[in-house]
């Protein structure tokens, strides 16, 4: 277990991950204990004067309907974080199964599989999610599914290359030599060894997923009123940008800081786990 404690030490000591970690912790606590932290009910119309500037009783001011922006941001944390995590989880699990299978079975399956990935890569992932939303209709959970689906080719490609590297290792040949089945080798031997890479690309992509979902809400395809999702808040805040900039600045700021800390953690995690290989070839 010495190895794990070294990783933990390397991971925590570094000041970058400290900032990232602390901020993310605040957001998570805020999301869980939202009812306690938020001074007002996020959906309460006319809790204060409309478009009031930030003051002591309304930390981030109020929006056009007189709702407290600070409470909405706190509740919004529940949406933005959980939404990002679920879409990445969906993408990662599907991507891993697809990636490992075509990597391990190889031969014609691998060729066809990687051609599919290349064609899917032809579409920018955002375009793909737009198309999916057009089919299944607007709504926050549809957008989550769309962004998750659109991230599968990206995950599958990296996991396939990682699995190919592990497949060449002698300890996998030893498993074959001992007569283990394909499924056992894939998920009992290959998966644990590419798990660090999976964690790293998941955290690195979490930031991207949160932004994509917020962008789709900004375009009006994701969260519908009155859901306090940060992207939607930004979009409605845009109307009143000139005389009530706080309705636009603060949701955007929190979105930025959350994505920043998630990316920071992803970076530090990759350095700590020293997953140097394909992952470090840049945030693709």
């Amino acid at each position: 277990m010495k190895n794990f404690s070294i990783i933990l030490k390397r991971f925590l000591l570094n000041k970058g991950s400290a900032f990232g970690g602390i901020f993310l912790l605040i957001i998570i606590i805020g999301a869980i204990f939202a009812p306690l932290i938020a001074p007002y009910n996020w959906n309460e119309v006319d809790t204060g004067p409309r478009l009031a500037p930030p003051s002591w009783d309304f930390l981030f001011g109020t929006d056009i309907h007189g709702r407290d922006v600070f409470s909405r941001i706190v509740y919004g944390a529940r949406y933005s974080l959980s939404v990002g995590v679920i879409s990445v989880l969906f993408g990662i699990i599907a991507g891993s199964i697809f990636g490992i299978t075509i990597a391990y079975i190889g031969g014609r399956v691998d060729i066809i599989g990687s051609r599919i990935i290349d064609v899917m890569f032809g579409f920018p992932s955002f375009l793909l999610s737009l198309l999916v939303v057009a089919i299944i209709g607007v709504g926050l959970w549809n957008v989550v599914f769309a962004v998750g689906l659109a991230s599968i080719p990206h995950f599958a490609r990296i996991i396939r290359s990682a699995a190919l590297q592990v497949k060449e290792q002698p300890y996998i040949e030893a498993c074959v030599n001992m007569g283990f089945g394909k499924i056992r080798i894939m998920f009992n031997h290959i998966l644990p060894n590419i798990f660090p890479i999976i964690i790293v690309i998941a955290t690195m992509d979490l930031g991207g997923a949160i932004i994509s979902i917020a962008s789709l809400s900004f375009l009006g395809l994701g969260a519908q009123p009155p859901e306090p999702e940060w992207g939607a808040m930004l979009s409605s805040g845009r109307e009143y940008m000139r005389y009530a900039p706080w309705t636009m600045i603060y949701p955007g700021l929190f979105l930025f800081l959350t994505v920043m800390s998630v990316n920071l953690l992803g970076d530090r995690l990759s350095i700590a786990l020293d997953a140097r290989q394909s992952v470090d070839k840049g945030k693709v």
Binding site: G16, D118, V119, F121, G122, F123, P124, S125, F126, L127, L130, L131, V133, A134, I135, G207, G208, I211, A214, S215, F218, L219, L221, G231, L234, R238, M241, R242, P245, M248, I249, G252, L255, F256, V259, M260, N263, L264, D267, D280, K281, G282, K283, V284
Partner: protein, 309 residues
């Protein structure tokens, strides 16, 4: 050179597959196109029937598919449901602003990306390394629509330096920064990490053992080898330019393909969406071809392997 001819040949099937995928997915979309098309106009049933006929919607899907394909080869990608204009002219009209935006974004992204990458990579773990990497991290963490709005708010309304609507070059600055920022972040991080990798390679140690000065080692030896991963990223991130275009055009209220595509998808204007998707995939593949070409220039191993291949 026959490598590129072969690559070009592959483009056609990929485009065909992309187009078919879009044709199938869009036909699943609920909503009867005729209703949508005639949405605004009162029309009796026979009027409705002849519209359906000249749109060819009464024919079975497969027949529509082949007839559409034949027209496509003749360059006629059909008419948009909403504006009844041929789709190709609509794309031509809106193409220029998006191209300008993409090029602006590309120049901003590559310039700042590579600059910060080298600035950090030559002195790993130094102050300037952490500093530029934090900026790069901000680059990829900033939601493009928020930074766009903030730029308008700061430079447009409060300071009034940059025109918001205006024409020509000056109005291109803010949108290019918005599109290019994400791009620059990714490039900087990757250039830095590939430069650091290269500086740890054995042949750099050989160069040092030859008494070559540090400055010359970075310029002569490591830069060229370090450029391969960022060029790969360049190829993949072109997709981001198109994504950026959709959002930036919405925030800056600029016309362009991004806007056109968004409206077309929301209005379920099938021929326009198909044409746009095929057009964007073609541009994407074309740009990747150029990236492949630059591979050959940078890395002799690839060039020689291709001439033999």
């Amino acid at each position: 050179m026959n490598f590129f001819i072969k690559k070009l040949l592959i483009v056609i099937p990929t485009l065909y597959i992309a187009w078919t995928v879009v044709f199938v997915t869009l036909n699943i979309i609920p909503g009867d196109p005729v209703n949508l098309m005639l949405g605004g106009r009162p029309a009796s049933d026979e009027v409705r029937e002849n519209v359906r006929k000249n749109l060819g919607l009464d024919k079975p899907v497969f027949e529509r598919y082949t007839s559409f394909l034949i027209n496509a080869t003749k360059g006629d990608l059909g008419k948009s449901y909403l504006t009844r204009q041929p789709v190709t002219t609509m794309i031509k009209e809106n193409m220029m602003p998006t191209i300008e935006l993409s090029i602006g974004g590309l120049i901003f992204g590559v310039f700042f990306g590579v600059f910060f990458g080298i600035f950090a990579g030559t002195k790993p773990n130094s102050m300037r390394d952490t500093f530029s990497m934090i900026i790069a991290l901000c680059g990829i963490s900033l939601p493009s629509f928020w930074i766009g709005m903030m730029l308008i708010y700061i430079f447009g309304t409060t300071l009034g330096w940059v025109p918001i609507v205006g024409e020509g070059f000056v109005s291109l600055i803010l949108p290019s920064i918005t599109v290019g920022l994400f791009f620059a972040g990714g490039m900087a991080r990757l250039t830095r990490s590939s430069l650091v990798d290269v500086l740890n390679q054995d042949y750099i140690r050989t160069a040092r053992s030859k008494g070559i000065s540090k400055y010359r080692i970075v310029l002569r030896h490591s830069l060229r080898n370090a450029m391969i991963p960022p060029v790969t990223l360049l190829g993949i991130q072109f997709g981001l330019l198109i994504t950026g275009a959709v959002i930036t055009e919405e925030v800056f209220a600029r016309p362009g393909l991004g806007q056109l595509l968004l409206q077309a998808i929301l209005a379920k204007d099938i021929p326009l969406v198909q044409a746009l998707v095929v057009y964007m995939t073609a541009v994407y593949i074309f740009l990747n071809l150029i990236v492949d070409f630059t591979y050959g220039i940078i890395d002799p191993r690839i060039r020689l392997e291709r001439n033999r291949g």
